[in-house]
Subunit: 394 residues, 2 copies
């Protein structure tokens, strides 16, 4: 019998418990062991919960119970999650988390602790919600050199952009609708300004390139200044505007993680990823390209990923080596955003001198011109006196 | 140091060796152990190969070398692959294979042997080539009840259908082009008649629903009778014609695996999966829906999946319980194709009596009418005197 604890009984934590009991029989078959939830940690009272007898407000009860071999952390935020997880790992209890903020800030430390104590720190749920991304990246694709990752890793902004594209809503209208439907917070900054997507690309970058990438080192531009005019013009030129979190390795050996609204060709599957759905496109030498698509957030989708990790903890007590990265003292391995190379979409006055750039496509309207220009660096593209400047995804 | 052998030096086997040596350093880091290829089994001579000293024609050299702890089987066909793998597993050597024919016919036996001898039989490469499908299904999504899987699991037929849709080629023209480009065999039956996709849906069905599904039990219809006329009409109605391998669980507890050309709505991401690419859409209770997309065949894509499995063999010598299914004595757990329920696309003479069916959409042309009819069973739909009858993917 393997017993685990769930830290936090909010949306995700309660989802983990519900999904576990719903599918307990098949889960135990897959785990090769009987399993049960022994504790649920929450400071609130849940007297009417069918699991009322499992609740505790004292983390130490969980920490000091040797019967608890795995812990699902679904509290969110860096503290006290970091302290709790650290203590669990030091006791050899494996941990599965959905906490992207924590992994992006402290992943290297927690992975090292897991290795030192021969247990696991899993975080499939921290990127792409239900979508299997972390495990495929380090396990299924382990034979490859991964060269680039680009994805729609925030559902709220994708919902807003989809409404702008399909229903010609303005950004403000689409945001208000997202808030009404519960997809966006009252303070929508974490989503809209790209911070959430930034944390996720930090986690992917760290895993793929082997060194901890901190959010503060990543150029992050949100969608709050994307205009309906540019969304429409991009559409006419054959592109959808999406908030893309990406990372690639440059020839100088540095990596280039970034979050920014980009134009994605209608030919690319990513351009058809709509509403709150997420998708992640991975490029590598052996497999060429692979795309993962699904729900990036929500109670049961996130719980699904946490539970998959918990089940993996039960049978595999040895540390999974492939899921690991080093700490980083500085960010000198991250290239300057000025070196970000791309084709660009540029909107500017019709009389702007564009002779320094190679024009691939052009639309004129109301004294303005929108161009697709051939690949140049961000530094070069910024020299244009542009009203809008958006990179184009390869 | 972990040493493995590669059985077969054809397209996939040589790809495994090349990709391994190309990325040896990062692979060893992920495996947490030094690794090397000790033997390559092939009856042919490869005197100019950089790995000439590793070749052997005698399988027993590999079988009896205790230093070899893992084997990559890339020979294809049921025999002698089955005998070789059986013997390896009986000696506790883990095996990774790309051989879908073998897994579809003998998977249950080989999984049982692996469990008995505390090693692993992995087959990620047997479905969807490079695309991580098998491991995500039984591992990342282990907390869910998976209710349905539907995918484009054959690249050759998807290439042919893409040419019919995009370039209005006839089936014969598109097939000839696929043969010219090396995507289709001179005898294209295995692809075109759906046998290849059938083997893959057998493997997925066995894994997801827990009992061995044999190809002979699966209704399999190829694309050889799909006409350009229906492809065009479907397009006008908002659908792409795709060869879909699918399985779902019916309310009577039976499962319904099938391979058939189907209409896929342009709203669905699967309809945008073009050329030789594969995709697999999975439905489940927690995660809702997830799609995996990538290259389903080819030297390095397939090698990528085999190598991922080999690397997993190195560190994880305990049998992975979640990747398992039971043998089946009969196919009474598989529902009759007559009970296959779907909306349908029907082309028939304009004067055909359709009053027994609920018409959702209709196009008339040249004395014929094409209908989209509401959900009925295959048995009901077959009563129509139809010139074309194609199911519509949910």
């Amino acid at each position: 019998m393997s017993k685990f604890a769930v830290l936090g009984h909010g949306v995700v934590g309660s989802g983990v418990v519900e999904l576990f009991y719903k599918n307990k029989e098949s889960i135990e078959k897959k785990a090769g062991s009987e399993m049960d939830v022994k504790y649920i940690l929450d400071l609130r009272d849940f007297p009417d919960s069918p699991y009322a007898d499992k609740f505790t407000k004292d983390f130490n009860v969980i920490l000091n119970d040797d019967e608890v071999t795995a812990v699902a952390e679904c509290m969110g935020g860096v503290e006290p999650a970091f302290t709790f997880i650290r203590q669990c790992l030091e006791k050899g209890k494996s941990v599965a988390t959905s906490n992207k903020e924590l992994v992006a800030e402290k992943g290297d430390i927690l992975l090292r602790l897991a290795k030192e104590h021969n247990c696991n720190f899993f975080f499939e749920a921290s990127v792409g919600g239900a979508i299997p991304i972390i495990r495929p990246l380090h396990k299924c694709l382990a034979g490859n050199k991964i060269t680039a990752v680009a994805g729609i890793l925030n559902g709220t902004t994708n919902f807003i952009l989809t409404k702008m594209i399909d229903e010609k809503m303005s950004f403000d209208e689409a945001l208000a609708l997202a808030q009404k439907l519960g997809y966006a917070e009252r303070n929508p900054d974490a989503d809209v300004k790209g911070f959430d997507a930034c944390r996720k690309i930090c986690i992917i970058s760290s895993l793929v390139f082997g060194k901890h990438v901190y959010p503060k080192s990543v150029y992050t531009q949100g969608i709050e200044n994307v205009s309906l005019k540019d969304v429409d013009t991009a559409n006419s030129l054959g592109y959808a505007v999406k908030l893309i979190a990406s990372v690639k390795e440059h020839e100088n050996g540095k990596i280039m993680p970034a979050v920014m609204p980009m134009l994605v060709s209608h030919e690319s599957l990513i351009s058809h990823v709509n509403d709150v759905f997420n998708a992640c496109l991975v490029n590598g030498d052996g497999f060429d390209k692979i795309l993962f698509y699904g729900r990036g957030a929500g109670k049961f989708p996130t719980a699904s990923a946490v539970l998959g990790d918990v089940i993996d903890c039960v049978k595999h007590k040895i540390t999974v080596f492939s899921q690991s990265w080093e700490s980083s003292d500085d960010d000198s391995f991250i290239d300057s955003i000025d070196n970000f190379k791309s084709k660009w979409y540029v909107r500017t006055d019709s009389d702007t001198d564009m002779s320094a750039y190679n024009i691939e496509d052009k639309i004129e309207c109301d004294g303005e011109a929108s161009y697709i220009i051939s690949e140049v660096t961000f530094a070069e593209a910024k020299k244009i006196n542009a009203k809008a400047l958006l990179a184009i995804l390869d």
